[in-house]
Protein backbone atom coordinates (compact mmCIF):
# COMPACT_ATOMS: atom_id res chain seq x y z
CA UNK A 1 0.00 0.00 0.00
CA UNK A 2 1.11 3.52 -0.71
CA UNK A 3 -0.20 6.92 0.18
CA UNK A 4 -1.01 8.90 -2.92
CA UNK A 5 -1.96 12.53 -3.15
CA UNK A 6 -2.86 14.63 -6.14
CA UNK A 7 -5.20 17.38 -7.27
CA UNK A 8 -8.31 16.16 -9.08
CA UNK A 9 -10.53 18.75 -10.71
CA UNK A 10 -9.04 21.43 -8.51
CA UNK A 11 -9.46 19.61 -5.22
CA UNK A 12 -6.63 18.09 -3.22
CA UNK A 13 -7.21 14.38 -2.64
CA UNK A 14 -5.19 11.79 -0.77
CA UNK A 15 -5.71 8.11 -0.11
CA UNK A 16 -4.01 4.89 0.85
CA UNK A 17 -4.14 2.58 -2.17
CA UNK A 18 -2.70 -0.72 -3.30
CA UNK A 19 0.37 0.03 -5.41
CA UNK A 20 -1.18 -1.76 -8.38
CA UNK A 21 -4.24 0.55 -8.43
CA UNK A 22 -4.64 2.08 -11.85
CA UNK A 23 -5.35 5.79 -12.07
CA UNK A 24 -8.74 5.03 -13.65
CA UNK A 25 -9.61 2.72 -10.73
CA UNK A 26 -8.59 5.40 -8.27
CA UNK A 27 -10.80 7.95 -10.02
CA UNK A 28 -13.81 5.67 -10.37
CA UNK A 29 -13.72 3.50 -7.26
CA UNK A 30 -12.05 5.71 -4.66
CA UNK A 31 -13.25 9.15 -5.76
CA UNK A 32 -16.48 7.91 -7.41
CA UNK A 33 -15.78 10.01 -10.50
CA UNK A 34 -17.36 7.54 -12.88
CA UNK A 35 -17.37 9.84 -15.91
CA UNK A 36 -13.98 8.41 -16.89
CA UNK A 37 -14.79 5.12 -18.57
CA UNK A 38 -13.02 1.79 -19.02
CA UNK A 39 -13.65 0.60 -22.55
CA UNK A 40 -11.13 -1.80 -24.02
CA UNK A 41 -8.79 -2.33 -21.07
CA UNK A 42 -6.02 -2.87 -23.64
CA UNK A 43 -4.90 0.78 -24.02
CA UNK A 44 -6.45 1.33 -27.43
CA UNK A 45 -9.90 2.91 -27.07
CA UNK A 46 -9.21 6.14 -25.18
CA UNK A 47 -12.46 6.06 -23.15
CA UNK A 48 -10.31 6.45 -20.01
CA UNK A 49 -8.53 9.56 -21.25
CA UNK A 50 -7.91 12.28 -18.66
CA UNK A 51 -5.54 15.24 -18.43
CA UNK A 52 -2.49 14.82 -16.20
CA UNK A 53 -0.56 18.06 -15.74
CA UNK A 54 -2.35 19.42 -18.80
CA UNK A 55 -1.64 16.49 -21.12
CA UNK A 56 -3.97 13.78 -22.38
CA UNK A 57 -3.13 10.37 -20.93
CA UNK A 58 -4.81 7.00 -20.71
CA UNK A 59 -5.72 6.52 -17.07
CA UNK A 60 -6.01 2.76 -17.64
CA UNK A 61 -2.32 2.60 -18.59
CA UNK A 62 -0.81 4.29 -15.58
CA UNK A 63 -0.80 3.64 -11.88
CA UNK A 64 -2.40 6.07 -9.44
CA UNK A 65 0.99 6.37 -7.69
CA UNK A 66 2.55 7.54 -10.95
CA UNK A 67 0.25 10.57 -10.75
CA UNK A 68 1.61 11.56 -7.32
CA UNK A 69 1.49 15.36 -6.94
CA UNK A 70 -0.04 15.77 -10.40
CA UNK A 71 -2.96 17.95 -11.47
CA UNK A 72 -5.60 15.63 -12.89
CA UNK A 73 -8.66 16.84 -14.76
CA UNK A 74 -11.53 14.50 -15.66
CA UNK A 75 -14.71 15.10 -17.63
CA UNK A 76 -16.40 16.12 -14.36
CA UNK A 77 -13.95 18.99 -14.00
CA UNK A 78 -14.77 20.78 -17.24
CA UNK A 79 -18.05 22.57 -16.54
CA UNK A 80 -17.88 25.85 -14.66
CA UNK A 81 -20.75 27.04 -12.44
CA UNK A 82 -23.24 24.91 -14.29
CA UNK A 83 -22.02 26.09 -17.72
CA UNK A 84 -20.76 23.39 -20.02
CA UNK A 85 -17.22 23.69 -21.38
CA UNK A 86 -17.32 24.93 -25.01
CA UNK A 87 -16.25 21.47 -26.21
CA UNK A 88 -19.03 19.79 -24.21
CA UNK A 89 -21.49 22.32 -25.59
CA UNK A 90 -20.31 21.58 -29.14
CA UNK A 91 -20.78 17.81 -28.64
CA UNK A 92 -24.28 18.59 -27.37
CA UNK A 93 -25.16 20.87 -30.29
CA UNK A 94 -23.70 18.64 -33.01
CA UNK A 95 -24.95 15.44 -31.43
CA UNK A 96 -21.38 14.13 -31.30
CA UNK A 97 -22.41 10.87 -29.71
CA UNK A 98 -24.65 7.87 -30.12
CA UNK A 99 -24.44 5.62 -27.05
CA UNK A 100 -22.19 8.10 -25.26
CA UNK A 101 -19.70 5.61 -23.86
CA UNK A 102 -16.66 7.01 -25.66
CA UNK A 103 -17.77 10.64 -25.22
CA UNK A 104 -15.79 11.61 -22.08
CA UNK A 105 -12.57 10.36 -23.69
CA UNK A 106 -13.43 12.03 -26.98
CA UNK A 107 -13.99 15.38 -25.27
CA UNK A 108 -10.81 15.18 -23.19
CA UNK A 109 -8.88 14.21 -26.33
CA UNK A 110 -10.44 17.07 -28.29
CA UNK A 111 -9.48 19.67 -25.69
CA UNK A 112 -5.91 18.30 -25.65
CA UNK A 113 -5.87 18.57 -29.44
CA UNK A 114 -6.83 22.26 -29.30
CA UNK A 115 -4.18 22.97 -26.64
CA UNK A 116 -1.49 21.41 -28.83
CA UNK A 117 -2.59 22.51 -32.28
CA UNK A 118 -4.72 25.60 -31.78
CA UNK A 119 -8.40 26.35 -32.39
CA UNK A 120 -8.41 26.02 -36.17
CA UNK A 121 -8.60 22.31 -36.87
CA UNK A 122 -9.46 20.88 -40.27
CA UNK A 123 -11.26 17.59 -40.73
CA UNK A 124 -8.18 15.60 -41.78
CA UNK A 125 -6.24 16.78 -38.72
CA UNK A 126 -9.10 15.94 -36.36
CA UNK A 127 -9.53 12.45 -37.80
CA UNK A 128 -5.79 11.77 -37.62
CA UNK A 129 -5.48 13.08 -34.07
CA UNK A 130 -8.39 10.89 -32.95
CA UNK A 131 -6.45 7.70 -33.70
CA UNK A 132 -6.28 6.92 -29.98
CA UNK A 133 -10.05 7.18 -29.44
CA UNK A 134 -12.46 4.53 -30.65
CA UNK A 135 -16.23 4.97 -31.04
CA UNK A 136 -18.00 1.61 -31.21
CA UNK A 137 -21.10 3.19 -32.72
CA UNK A 138 -18.90 4.42 -35.62
CA UNK A 139 -20.32 7.86 -35.06
CA UNK A 140 -17.23 9.76 -36.12
CA UNK A 141 -18.99 12.12 -38.51
CA UNK A 142 -20.66 14.18 -35.81
CA UNK A 143 -17.75 13.81 -33.41
CA UNK A 144 -15.47 15.42 -36.00
CA UNK A 145 -18.00 18.20 -36.63
CA UNK A 146 -18.37 18.77 -32.88
CA UNK A 147 -14.61 18.99 -32.35
CA UNK A 148 -14.18 21.50 -35.18
CA UNK A 149 -16.95 23.68 -33.70
CA UNK A 150 -15.75 23.22 -30.11
CA UNK A 151 -12.20 24.10 -31.09
CA UNK A 152 -13.37 27.30 -32.80
CA UNK A 153 -15.44 28.18 -29.73
CA UNK A 154 -12.42 27.61 -27.44
CA UNK A 155 -10.42 29.96 -29.61
CA UNK A 156 -12.81 32.73 -28.69
Amino acid sequence: MSKVSMTVNGEAVAAEVEDRTLLVEFLREHLHLTGTHIGCDTSQCGACLVHVDGKAMKSCSMLAVQAEAAEVVTIEGLARNGELHPMQQAFHEHHGLQCGFCTPGMIMSAIDMVRRLGPKLDEATIRHELEGNICRCTGYQNIVAAIAAGAAAMGG
Partner: protein, 266 residues
Amino acid sequence: MYETTYQRPKDLAGAAAAFAAGGDARYLAGGQTLIPTMKQRLAAPSELIDVARLAELQGIAASGDVLTIGAATTHAEVAGSATVKAAIPALARLAGLIGDPAVRHRGTLGGSLANNDPAADYPAAVLALGATVHTDKRAIPAAEFFTGLFSTALADGEIVTKVAFPVPAKAAYEKFANPASRYAMAGVFVARLKDGGVRVGVTGAGNRGVFRSAEFETALSGDFAEKALAPLSVDPAAMISDIHGSAAYRANLVKVMARRAVKAIE
Protein backbone atom coordinates in the same frame (compact mmCIF):
# COMPACT_ATOMS: atom_id res chain seq x y z
CA MET B 1 -2.78 -7.21 -12.45
CA TYR B 2 -0.96 -9.19 -9.79
CA GLU B 3 0.17 -7.43 -6.67
CA THR B 4 3.34 -5.42 -6.89
CA THR B 5 5.14 -2.78 -4.92
CA TYR B 6 6.05 0.62 -6.28
CA GLN B 7 8.91 2.90 -5.40
CA ARG B 8 10.24 6.13 -6.79
CA PRO B 9 13.91 6.61 -5.87
CA LYS B 10 15.28 10.16 -5.82
CA ASP B 11 18.33 9.55 -7.97
CA LEU B 12 19.97 7.13 -10.37
CA ALA B 13 22.11 5.46 -7.70
CA GLY B 14 19.00 4.98 -5.57
CA ALA B 15 17.19 3.34 -8.48
CA ALA B 16 20.04 0.90 -9.10
CA ALA B 17 20.23 0.11 -5.38
CA ALA B 18 16.47 -0.51 -5.22
CA PHE B 19 16.73 -2.85 -8.19
CA ALA B 20 19.61 -4.78 -6.60
CA ALA B 21 17.67 -5.10 -3.34
CA GLY B 22 14.50 -6.24 -5.10
CA GLY B 23 13.36 -9.69 -6.07
CA ASP B 24 11.96 -9.75 -9.56
CA ALA B 25 12.26 -6.00 -10.05
CA ARG B 26 11.53 -4.00 -13.19
CA TYR B 27 12.18 -0.38 -14.03
CA LEU B 28 9.11 1.65 -14.95
CA ALA B 29 9.33 4.71 -17.20
CA GLY B 30 6.25 5.73 -19.19
CA GLY B 31 4.77 2.28 -18.69
CA GLN B 32 2.95 2.24 -22.03
CA THR B 33 4.10 -1.33 -22.65
CA LEU B 34 4.80 -2.55 -19.13
CA ILE B 35 1.49 -1.55 -17.49
CA PRO B 36 -0.71 -3.12 -20.22
CA THR B 37 1.51 -6.23 -20.11
CA MET B 38 1.06 -6.45 -16.34
CA LYS B 39 -2.70 -5.98 -16.70
CA GLN B 40 -2.76 -9.02 -18.96
CA ARG B 41 -0.67 -10.88 -16.38
CA LEU B 42 2.04 -11.48 -18.94
CA ALA B 43 4.45 -9.77 -16.58
CA ALA B 44 4.33 -9.76 -12.80
CA PRO B 45 7.33 -7.95 -11.33
CA SER B 46 7.47 -7.98 -7.53
CA GLU B 47 8.86 -4.44 -7.51
CA LEU B 48 8.35 -1.52 -9.86
CA ILE B 49 11.06 1.11 -9.71
CA ASP B 50 9.88 4.36 -11.29
CA VAL B 51 12.70 6.12 -13.14
CA ALA B 52 10.53 8.53 -15.16
CA ARG B 53 11.23 11.57 -12.98
CA LEU B 54 14.98 11.04 -12.41
CA ALA B 55 16.88 14.26 -13.16
CA GLU B 56 19.74 12.28 -14.73
CA LEU B 57 17.37 11.01 -17.44
CA GLN B 58 15.97 14.35 -18.63
CA GLY B 59 16.90 16.86 -21.28
CA ILE B 60 17.55 17.42 -24.96
CA ALA B 61 20.78 19.07 -26.12
CA ALA B 62 22.61 19.53 -29.39
CA SER B 63 26.31 20.32 -29.45
CA GLY B 64 28.49 20.11 -32.51
CA ASP B 65 27.55 17.04 -34.46
CA VAL B 66 25.77 15.18 -31.69
CA LEU B 67 22.16 15.34 -30.48
CA THR B 68 21.71 13.96 -26.98
CA ILE B 69 18.31 12.99 -25.61
CA GLY B 70 17.64 11.91 -22.03
CA ALA B 71 16.14 8.44 -21.65
CA ALA B 72 13.01 9.67 -19.87
CA THR B 73 12.15 12.12 -22.65
CA THR B 74 8.67 11.37 -23.96
CA HIS B 75 7.84 10.78 -27.61
CA ALA B 76 5.74 13.98 -27.58
CA GLU B 77 8.70 15.99 -26.26
CA VAL B 78 11.00 14.63 -28.98
CA ALA B 79 8.36 15.22 -31.67
CA GLY B 80 7.83 18.81 -30.55
CA SER B 81 11.41 19.77 -29.72
CA ALA B 82 12.84 22.67 -31.73
CA THR B 83 16.34 21.32 -30.98
CA VAL B 84 15.52 17.88 -32.41
CA LYS B 85 13.73 19.39 -35.41
CA ALA B 86 16.76 21.53 -36.19
CA ALA B 87 19.36 18.77 -35.76
CA ILE B 88 17.60 15.60 -37.00
CA PRO B 89 14.09 16.41 -38.27
CA ALA B 90 13.55 12.77 -39.28
CA LEU B 91 13.88 11.77 -35.63
CA ALA B 92 11.21 14.27 -34.57
CA ARG B 93 8.97 12.93 -37.32
CA LEU B 94 9.57 9.34 -36.19
CA ALA B 95 8.63 10.20 -32.59
CA GLY B 96 5.41 11.81 -33.81
CA LEU B 97 4.42 8.59 -35.57
CA ILE B 98 4.58 6.43 -32.44
CA GLY B 99 1.24 5.22 -31.05
CA ASP B 100 -1.33 7.98 -30.56
CA PRO B 101 -1.17 11.39 -28.84
CA ALA B 102 -1.93 10.05 -25.34
CA VAL B 103 0.68 7.29 -25.65
CA ARG B 104 3.24 9.83 -26.87
CA HIS B 105 2.63 11.91 -23.73
CA ARG B 106 3.89 9.07 -21.54
CA GLY B 107 6.06 6.68 -23.57
CA THR B 108 9.81 7.34 -23.42
CA LEU B 109 12.88 6.90 -25.60
CA GLY B 110 14.73 4.84 -23.01
CA GLY B 111 11.73 2.64 -22.32
CA SER B 112 11.28 1.91 -26.01
CA LEU B 113 14.93 0.96 -26.45
CA ALA B 114 15.14 -1.18 -23.31
CA ASN B 115 12.01 -3.05 -24.39
CA ASN B 116 13.25 -3.50 -27.99
CA ASP B 117 9.89 -4.49 -29.41
CA PRO B 118 10.56 -5.77 -32.95
CA ALA B 119 7.89 -3.33 -34.22
CA ALA B 120 9.04 -0.28 -32.25
CA ASP B 121 10.18 2.79 -34.21
CA TYR B 122 13.19 4.16 -32.32
CA PRO B 123 15.49 1.13 -32.83
CA ALA B 124 15.55 1.80 -36.60
CA ALA B 125 16.83 5.35 -36.02
CA VAL B 126 19.33 4.35 -33.33
CA LEU B 127 20.81 1.71 -35.63
CA ALA B 128 20.79 3.80 -38.81
CA LEU B 129 22.32 6.85 -37.15
CA GLY B 130 24.94 4.78 -35.32
CA ALA B 131 23.84 6.26 -32.00
CA THR B 132 25.43 5.47 -28.67
CA VAL B 133 23.22 4.26 -25.82
CA HIS B 134 24.54 5.53 -22.50
CA THR B 135 23.69 3.70 -19.28
CA ASP B 136 24.52 4.17 -15.62
CA LYS B 137 27.51 1.89 -16.20
CA ARG B 138 28.87 2.35 -19.74
CA ALA B 139 28.31 3.48 -23.33
CA ILE B 140 26.95 0.88 -25.76
CA PRO B 141 27.26 1.36 -29.55
CA ALA B 142 23.97 0.82 -31.41
CA ALA B 143 25.49 -2.07 -33.35
CA GLU B 144 25.92 -4.01 -30.09
CA PHE B 145 22.76 -2.86 -28.29
CA PHE B 146 19.97 -4.81 -30.03
CA THR B 147 20.47 -8.54 -29.59
CA GLY B 148 17.15 -10.03 -30.73
CA LEU B 149 13.40 -9.88 -30.18
CA PHE B 150 12.74 -8.00 -26.91
CA SER B 151 16.38 -8.44 -25.89
CA THR B 152 19.26 -6.01 -25.56
CA ALA B 153 22.86 -5.85 -24.35
CA LEU B 154 21.63 -4.28 -21.08
CA ALA B 155 22.74 -6.23 -18.03
CA ASP B 156 20.29 -7.00 -15.23
CA GLY B 157 19.62 -3.74 -13.40
CA GLU B 158 21.41 -1.51 -15.92
CA ILE B 159 19.55 1.75 -16.68
CA VAL B 160 19.56 3.60 -20.00
CA THR B 161 20.32 7.25 -19.16
CA LYS B 162 20.59 8.98 -22.53
CA VAL B 163 21.14 8.40 -26.21
CA ALA B 164 23.70 10.31 -28.31
CA PHE B 165 22.74 10.57 -31.97
CA PRO B 166 25.40 11.68 -34.48
CA VAL B 167 23.77 14.31 -36.69
CA PRO B 168 23.60 13.05 -40.29
CA ALA B 169 23.75 15.13 -43.46
CA LYS B 170 20.19 14.07 -44.20
CA ALA B 171 17.79 11.41 -43.01
CA ALA B 172 14.23 10.21 -43.47
CA TYR B 173 11.92 7.70 -41.81
CA GLU B 174 9.01 6.06 -43.56
CA LYS B 175 6.66 3.68 -41.83
CA PHE B 176 3.73 1.51 -42.78
CA ALA B 177 1.77 1.40 -39.53
CA ASN B 178 -0.57 -1.36 -38.50
CA PRO B 179 -3.90 0.50 -38.70
CA ALA B 180 -5.05 -0.77 -35.29
CA SER B 181 -1.94 -0.66 -33.12
CA ARG B 182 0.15 1.96 -35.01
CA TYR B 183 3.17 -0.29 -34.56
CA ALA B 184 5.38 -0.55 -37.63
CA MET B 185 4.66 -3.38 -40.06
CA ALA B 186 7.72 -2.03 -41.77
CA GLY B 187 9.65 1.09 -40.83
CA VAL B 188 12.78 2.17 -42.65
CA PHE B 189 15.17 4.86 -41.45
CA VAL B 190 17.64 5.99 -44.11
CA ALA B 191 20.57 8.16 -43.02
CA ARG B 192 23.02 9.86 -45.32
CA LEU B 193 26.03 10.46 -43.08
CA LYS B 194 28.33 13.44 -43.18
CA ASP B 195 31.26 11.21 -44.21
CA GLY B 196 29.29 10.18 -47.31
CA GLY B 197 28.24 6.80 -45.95
CA VAL B 198 24.66 5.54 -46.07
CA ARG B 199 22.98 3.47 -43.37
CA VAL B 200 19.56 1.84 -43.49
CA GLY B 201 17.77 0.64 -40.35
CA VAL B 202 14.68 -1.56 -40.70
CA THR B 203 12.12 -2.22 -37.97
CA GLY B 204 8.80 -4.05 -37.75
CA ALA B 205 9.70 -6.60 -40.37
CA GLY B 206 12.74 -8.70 -39.45
CA ASN B 207 12.11 -11.96 -37.63
CA ARG B 208 15.16 -11.30 -35.45
CA GLY B 209 14.21 -7.70 -34.71
CA VAL B 210 15.63 -4.45 -36.02
CA PHE B 211 18.40 -4.82 -38.61
CA ARG B 212 20.53 -2.93 -41.13
CA SER B 213 20.18 -3.76 -44.78
CA ALA B 214 23.69 -4.21 -46.18
CA GLU B 215 22.33 -4.62 -49.70
CA PHE B 216 20.39 -1.36 -49.61
CA GLU B 217 23.36 0.46 -48.06
CA THR B 218 25.77 -0.77 -50.75
CA ALA B 219 23.40 0.18 -53.55
CA LEU B 220 22.73 3.64 -52.09
CA SER B 221 26.42 4.27 -51.37
CA GLY B 222 27.10 3.81 -55.08
CA ASP B 223 24.14 5.83 -56.25
CA PHE B 224 21.95 7.63 -53.72
CA ALA B 225 18.74 7.46 -55.71
CA GLU B 226 15.41 5.71 -55.41
CA LYS B 227 16.10 3.88 -58.67
CA ALA B 228 19.21 2.28 -57.12
CA LEU B 229 16.86 0.19 -54.96
CA ALA B 230 14.60 -0.84 -57.85
CA PRO B 231 16.47 -4.02 -58.85
CA LEU B 232 16.89 -5.21 -55.26
CA SER B 233 14.58 -7.47 -53.30
CA VAL B 234 14.29 -8.42 -49.65
CA ASP B 235 14.47 -12.10 -48.66
CA PRO B 236 11.12 -13.14 -47.12
CA ALA B 237 12.91 -15.88 -45.14
CA ALA B 238 14.19 -13.18 -42.77
CA MET B 239 10.78 -11.52 -42.32
CA ILE B 240 8.08 -11.76 -39.66
CA SER B 241 4.95 -13.61 -40.74
CA ASP B 242 1.83 -13.13 -38.60
CA ILE B 243 -1.91 -12.40 -38.76
CA HIS B 244 -1.17 -8.83 -39.87
CA GLY B 245 0.91 -9.76 -42.92
CA SER B 246 2.87 -12.56 -44.53
CA ALA B 247 6.66 -12.59 -44.83
CA ALA B 248 6.44 -11.89 -48.56
CA TYR B 249 4.14 -8.92 -47.91
CA ARG B 250 6.56 -7.47 -45.35
CA ALA B 251 9.55 -8.05 -47.63
CA ASN B 252 7.82 -5.92 -50.26
CA LEU B 253 6.83 -3.30 -47.68
CA VAL B 254 10.46 -2.90 -46.58
CA LYS B 255 11.49 -2.08 -50.11
CA VAL B 256 8.58 0.30 -50.63
CA MET B 257 9.30 2.14 -47.37
CA ALA B 258 13.02 2.32 -48.21
CA ARG B 259 12.24 3.81 -51.60
CA ARG B 260 9.92 6.39 -50.05
CA ALA B 261 12.58 7.35 -47.49
CA VAL B 262 15.26 7.76 -50.16
CA LYS B 263 12.86 9.80 -52.28
CA ALA B 264 12.18 12.07 -49.32
CA ILE B 265 15.92 12.79 -49.04
CA GLU B 266 16.81 13.02 -52.77
